[in-house]
């Protein structure tokens, strides 16, 4: 998907929407979202509409089933999950089945082909969250299929999240208030910053990172460093960039989506990191997997508290790992994260002031551990991952060419500096200051035009 087309589409829609009444605007957004999805593959909206229909009908059935709604909830949940399960797990194992099915024909660089319709994991989780909440009685089933449909397919967050909650997004979307000028300005600032992260940082880094993973240790310790740390920065630039573009796009329609990343580079522990990385997914899994599993453990097992906590963490993180895909690398990623979190919790001091050196050591360890463990997300298989790790630990010879290395370092430095300012010196009220905001927009666009990477690829998380 060409980002410039996306931004043009978004701009036209935002301007048209500003002149319409609430209902017409909501209808326009619904149509525009389906059209946007159909632009990638005309069959995708059909799949999406089917999932919306099942979710709508399922919600009504669960509500009508009264207190004994467990069976209805399971049936509906499985029905909603079926396409994701089929594409993400069955098709992965039985690739021969893919002929004739709508699949994402997007360019992911070194990731190769992708079978899954783009965004399926994200909106499936939104639908599941809605059904679970209806089952729990958190709110009633939506009687308006258009409102539910718009919540599920709102295009800024359709392809790669954030995974929103019905209670927070459906009504604001349906009765969309027009954005205030400062909201619109904030939206533009996020979009430009997101474009910078994607086009300048992530796409440029993707080339050496792909090469490093392709060589799988053959590029020596330097190649492994690029693979691990380069991919960490690339993934933030890519996914964080997408999330900020989504946040900005939402603001142009008067909607504030979840900020999915809160300066994860500066986390001083693995727990803090996961409170700052892909926040909407970790919250979703926390609400719909971690807590229910934890409660179940408490009620139905006689294990010690430590074992219960460990089992809950492992199940939760394996779920997150498998959400990414049905491969051993993703499973290992989940297990490693669970292990790291449990290890941290067993060692962490919870009381008293933490000395600065400990914070710094924690930050450094977190940074390194996260970067190395994220290699599992990117590695094509475990052999490649072990190859990279072995090359790093043995200081093996070899290298991966960093074309225009100075530009890579400069763009990472700018990204880290901006994230540092956002973390430690947050500027309040910037969007209200139109003069400074306009200057930042000008500078940002100028920088992207001058240093953006030609030959970009689709957002990494579209493939999940």
């Amino acid at each position: 998907m060409n980002l410039v087309y996306y931004v043009s589409y978004l701009s036209v829609l935002a301007i048209v929407a500003a002149f319409l009444g609430p209902r017409t605007r909501a209808a326009l957004l619904l149509l525009a979202s389906l059209g946007f999805y159909g632009f990638i593959d005309w069959r995708f909206p059909l799949l999406l509409l089917a999932i919306i229909a099942v979710t709508y009908g399922g919600g009504r059935w669960i509500e009508a089933s009264g207190p004994k709604n467990g069976f209805a909830a399971w049936v509906c949940g499985l029905a909603v999950f079926m396409p994701l399960g089929f594409y993400k797990y069955i098709l992965t194992w039985l690739e021969a089945l893919q002929v004739g099915l709508p699949t994402s024909d997007l360019y992911f660089g070194g990731y190769g082909a992708v079978l899954i319709p783009v965004g399926l994991s994200f909106y499936t989780f939104q639908c599941l969250g809605y059904l679970i909440d209806v089952k729990r009685g958190a709110y009633g089933a939506d009687r308006n299929p258009m409102r539910l449909g718009l919540f599920i397919c709102f295009f800024p967050q359709l392809l790669a999240g954030p995974i929103e909650r019905y209670s927070q997004l459906a009504e604001p979307l349906w009765s969309t208030k027009r954005p205030t000028p400062s909201m619109a300005m904030e939206g533009l600032l996020w979009i430009v910053y997101g474009l910078f992260l994607k086009i300048v940082v992530a796409d440029r880094l993707a080339v050496p990172v792909d090469e490093a993973f392709h060589q799988a240790g053959g590029a020596g310790a330097q190649g492994s460093l690029i693979a691990f740390f380069g991919f960490y920065f690339q993934l933030f630039g890519d996914f964080g960039g997408y999330s900020l573009i989504a946040l900005g796009a939402g603001l142009l329609f008067g909607i504030r989506l979840t900020d999915n990343f809160k300066q994860p580079f500066f986390a001083c522990s693995i727990v803090e990191f996961w409170q700052r990385w892909h926040i909407s997914l970790t919250r979703w899994v926390g609400d719909y997997v971690y807590r229910p599993v934890g409660r179940w453990m408490l009620r139905h097992t006689a294990w010690s508290r430590n074992i219960q906590e460990s089992m809950t963490a492992v199940i939760t993180w394996v779920t997150i790992g498998l959400w990414h895909g049905a491969t051993l690398t993703f499973l290992s990623f989940g297990v490693v994260q669970a292990g790291l979190i449990l290890l941290y919790k067993s060692r962490a001091r919870t009381k008293g002031r933490v000395p600065l050196w400990r914070l710094l050591a924690g930050w450094l360890m977190t940074f390194v551990i996260v970067a190395v463990s994220f290699g599992l997300v990117r590695s094509p298989d475990m052999t490649s991952y072990w190859g990279l790790l072995a090359a790093l630990l043995s200081f093996a010879d070899g290298s991966v060419a960093l074309v225009q290395a100075w530009l890579i370092y400069l763009s990472i430095a700018i990204m880290v500096a901006i994230e540092g300012i956002r973390r430690f010196f947050p500027v309040r009220g910037l969007p209200e200051n139109f003069a400074i905001s306009a200057a930042l927009l000008t500078f940002g666009i100028m920088f992207i035009l001058l240093f953006g990477f030609e030959g970009g690829r689709s957002f990494v998380y579209f493939r999940f």
Partner: protein
């Protein structure tokens, strides 16, 4: 957009829509002004920077100009040719679009009279959509001077063709290098520079030396005879028109490849036929039709290559000497040729 038409109920005090649109308009105007100013400065620097291939060529005032990809770049060292005033403008990834752009961008009063083109027939099979002209970005400031080649840069992308009007975009990634080479020019007297590495380079997706081998049609691995693409035919016509307009002599050479085999030429049979047909009536000296023995003492020597397609220093020396001999035997004195001269 008239700001009064926009809703006012959500306006936040002084931060109203009028100011919002005013700020955006000022930002847009600033962007245009910065773009134009930057472009003007960069245009001046580019004219005098050694990054500009035209400036490099015009500075040495050559009569012979070598164009072609890295194969040509590493194969011809003009200092070993007994023909004087030769400049090797071959560069990594310089396909036919890139080479034609260089030729078309040369000034009217250029000293160049003969062009030695190291033909890569794979160039004519690839379409623009396949990335046939992707390396042309290295000389994007020249693209705007040659309207007939804008499409090679933009492809069918409307937005890209609009973006090309932006000087910031045109000098994207190139500006620092141009400025550096303006401050400290690196003039190449013959255009040739020996390979900086001794070992064969490892395949890398972004390495222009190896990417040709990765992306271009591998004739020897296919049994079928490859056909020229429509884009390939178009660019060949543009090149032929330029040669004719300038009244240049065109020397066609097949790039030296270690142990070049006949199957490759057989697969590209139709491409070479088109090449000769398009160039008919021009002053052409076609060395591609020579028996393999023409360069046999060069292409059979593995010591002359640092990989299968790129020559090292001794290889360039041998190739340049052999090329001199062949040029003297077959091309010097030959003018307009209905049939290839050999």
């Amino acid at each position: 957009m008239p700001s009064q038409n926009l809703p006012s109920q959500n306006s936040e005090g002084p931060a109203n829509w009028r100011h919002f649109w005013l700020a955006l308009i000022v930002a847009l105007i600033s962007l245009v002004v910065i773009d134009r100013t930057f472009g003007w400065v960069m245009d001046q620097l580019y004219e005098k920077s050694s990054k500009n291939p035209i400036a490099q060529i015009e500075r040495t005032k050559p009569e012979w100009l070598v164009v072609g990809s890295s194969v040509a770049k590493y194969a011809v060292d003009p200092s070993f040719m007994d023909i004087k005033q030769v400049y090797n403008a071959g560069r990594n990834g310089q396909g036919i679009y890139y080479a034609t752009l260089i030729l078309k961008a040369l000034p009217e009063n250029t000293s160049v009279k003969r062009v030695i083109w190291f033909v890569d027939p794979g160039d004519l099979v690839m379409t623009l959509k396949d990335g046939g002209a992707e390396n042309i970005r290295a000389v994007s400031p020249l693209v705007t001077r040659v309207p007939s080649l804008r499409k090679a840069f933009t492809g069918d992308d409307v937005l890209k063709s609009i973006a090309l009007y932006s000087h910031l975009y045109r000098y994207r990634e190139l500006a620092p290098g141009i400025a550096a080479r303006w401050l400290r020019p690196h003039w190449q007297e013959t255009g040739y520079s020996p390979p900086a590495f001794v070992d064969p380079p490892k395949p890398q997706s972004n390495d222009p030396i190896t990417e040709d081998a990765e992306k271009k049609p591998k004739a020897s691995s296919r049994k079928t005879v490859l056909q020229p693409s429509t884009d390939g035919q178009d660019i060949l016509r543009i090149l032929a028109d330029e040669i004719k307009k300038r009244d240049w002599q065109l020397v066609l050479v097949t790039g030296p490849v270690l142990n070049d085999d006949r199957t490759t030429k057989e697969a590209f049979r139709d491409i070479y036929a088109l090449l000769r047909k398009t160039m008919r009536g021009l002053s052409v000296c076609d060395l591609t039709t020579l028996p393999a023995s023409g360069f046999a003492n060069v292409i059979g020597q593995s010591d002359y290559f640092f990989d299968g397609a790129h020559m090292n220093g001794p290889g360039a020396k041998a190739m340049s000497r052999q090329l001199s001999v062949l040029l003297r035997q077959h091309c010097l004195g030959a003018v307009t040729s209905e049939k290839p001269t050999h």
